[in-house]
């Protein structure tokens, strides 16, 4: 009986030692940090991994990024679960500001979208310069197209192209039009697996390694321009929001130093994002 007790005590101590202090230390580890709701493209392209250490070293503010689609990121910020919103769909961002969730939206940088597709190019759209016309040909050829289908910024941009092409792609959902309902990377994985076309942001495409037969088929159309905006969530809607530290991050991103850090980020000596905080109307 005594041995049992000793064994039990030992096991309990072991578990308690493992679990409890860890829990406590996790609770207190958070001293000065902000939460940024952002998109999968900024996270998965590696941009944040490059930017955040520079900002954290300068200010001592830890930046915690929750990377989801633009639609979900806006929802998170509206619910007060993020201090800063950093996404890429200007109409939605302006709606966010108009609703009073943020005082001001600032342009930060842009990159561009590219249309990727299989080398065999069944819709014969390679090197076309008009994205909407290319989409029309994809629909006419009933060539497989992998859509994000997740209300992300990229998905919204893609829907605008279908509209411009005069094609109701969702009517073919499940046939040649495949909605993955997931992030950029998983959608590219799906496209690579089924030799489908897809619209991708260039940053994610450049850092994406599982390309299989995929290559860029359409690029350089001015309509493929992809603008990112940033805004600190306002205290007016959510009093707990860390507006000062959030604003510090926003200010840094649009400062000459932050803009230079964005321009410095390269993969295989290719620049991924182009700072344009000072460009009027961006």
């Amino acid at each position: 009986m005594r041995q049992r007790r000793i064994l039990l005590a030992a096991a309990t101590t072991l578990l308690a030692a493992l679990a409890l202090p860890a829990t406590l230390s996790m609770a207190s580890a958070a001293d000065r940090f902000i939460t940024v709701a952002s998109t999968t493209s900024t996270e998965q392209s590696g941009l944040f991994k490059h930017l955040l250490p520079i900002f954290e070293k300068k200010t001592g503010i830890e930046v915690r990024v929750v990377a989801v689609g633009t639609g979900q990121a806006i929802k998170l910020a509206e619910k007060g679960d993020a201090d800063v919103l950093f996404v890429h769909h200007k109409p939605s961002e302006e709606k966010f500001v108009a609703a009073g969730y943020a005082a001001k939206r600032l342009p930060v940088m842009y990159n561009d979208f590219v249309v990727v597709g299989p080398k065999s190019d069944p819709a014969k759209i390679k090197d076309m310069k008009d994205t909407a016309a290319a989409f029309k040909k994809v629909a006419a050829a009933k060539a497989p197209f992998a859509s994000r289908g997740d209300k992300s910024g990229t998905h919204l941009a893609e829907q605008a192209f279908w509209k411009a092409a005069g094609v109701d792609a969702t009517a073919a959902s499940g046939q040649w039009y495949r909605e993955t309902g997931s992030g950029m990377g998983p959608t590219l994985n799906t496209a690579a697996g089924m030799d489908a076309y897809a619209l991708a942001d260039r940053g994610t495409w450049l850092s994406f390694t599982n390309r299989k037969n995929l290559e860029i088929v359409v690029e350089g159309d001015p309509k493929l321009f992809n603008q990112y905006g940033v805004m600190a969530v306002s205290k007016a809607k959510h009093p707990h929001v860390k507006d000062k530290d959030g604003q510090a991050f926003v200010d840094w991103l649009v400062s000459p130093e932050g803009q230079k850090a964005i321009a410095d980020y390269k993969i295989n000596s290719q620049q991924l994002f182009f700072p344009n905080a000072r460009q009027a109307g961006a």
Partner: protein, 237 residues
């Protein structure tokens, strides 16, 4: 085939490399899942034993409910915990969202029914054996539950390990309530999801191999501990 070979070499490189970021991810995974298992066992085991011993109206309904809850989809648990812990939710003021505490809460909710249901099954069998004896000794109900839990502890190990397995393997709940934030809430499973999203399949599979290896070590450890304790007991006067 190349990808699978690359996965194994990636796993080996990770184990040998001792990359501090990876160590942090592994430790966080273990802390979250083990803490959730401890909490779920504290809650679930007595519930399971009580359901095996006590007879009361609605007991069968509870048993069926518990069995059904074993199949709780992690993403649903994640959603409910997210809505609850969101700043706009009822427990938003706690500030737990996107912290390991939220992940522990979600996993505890996820695996408590599993631990309780499996425990109830093994306790019911033991109770069938012990019922007459304990009744004739006039042992009170709560003391009976305690006796069953203690005497059936080796059988209960299985329920706890099943709970750990489910917690360590799930991604849907922790990614939603933790946010997969680098250095803060990134666990092995969410890191695998992220690397897969980046198309880094070899690295993702390497992480998967590592996760399975860790799970194997923990299960082997629990098995050996159980055997050791059993042997001690058999040898004791």
């Amino acid at each position: 085939m190349d990808e699978i070979a690359a996965a194994f070499s990636a796993a080996l490189a990770m184990i040998l490399g001792g990359d501090p970021e990876l160590v942090q991810i592994v430790l966080l995974s273990l802390r979250v899942s083990l803490t959730a298992v401890v909490l779920a066992a504290i809650l679930g085991l007595p519930v399971g034993a009580a359901l095996a011993v006590f007879r009361f109206p609605g007991r069968r309904v509870l048993v069926v409910l518990l069995n059904a809850l074993m199949g709780l989809p992690p993403v649903v648990v994640g959603l409910v915990v997210y809505v609850t812990l969101s700043r706009s939710g009822p427990l938003g003021a706690l500030g737990w969202l996107f912290t390991p505490l939220a992940m522990i809460l979600a996993q505890t909710i996820l695996i408590t029914p599993l631990i309780a249901a499996v425990a109830r099954q093994s306790m019911a069998e033991l109770w069938a054996e012990y019922a007459d004896e304990l009744r004739s000794l006039g042992v009170g109900p709560w003391r009976t539950v305690a006796t069953l839990l203690w005497d059936g502890r080796f059988g209960l190990l299985t329920s706890v390990l099943a709970g750990f397995g489910r917690a360590a393997a799930e991604v849907g709940a922790v990614i939603m309530v933790g946010g997969n934030i680098a250095h803060v809430t990134r666990t092995m499973t969410t890191a695998i999801a992220l690397e897969t999203a980046k198309g880094e399949l070899a690295l993702a599979m390497g992480l998967g191999i590592l996760l399975m290896g860790i799970s194997l070590v923990i299960n082997a450890g629990a098995y050996l501990l159980g055997e050791f304790a059993r042997a001690r007991e058999a040898g004791a006067p």
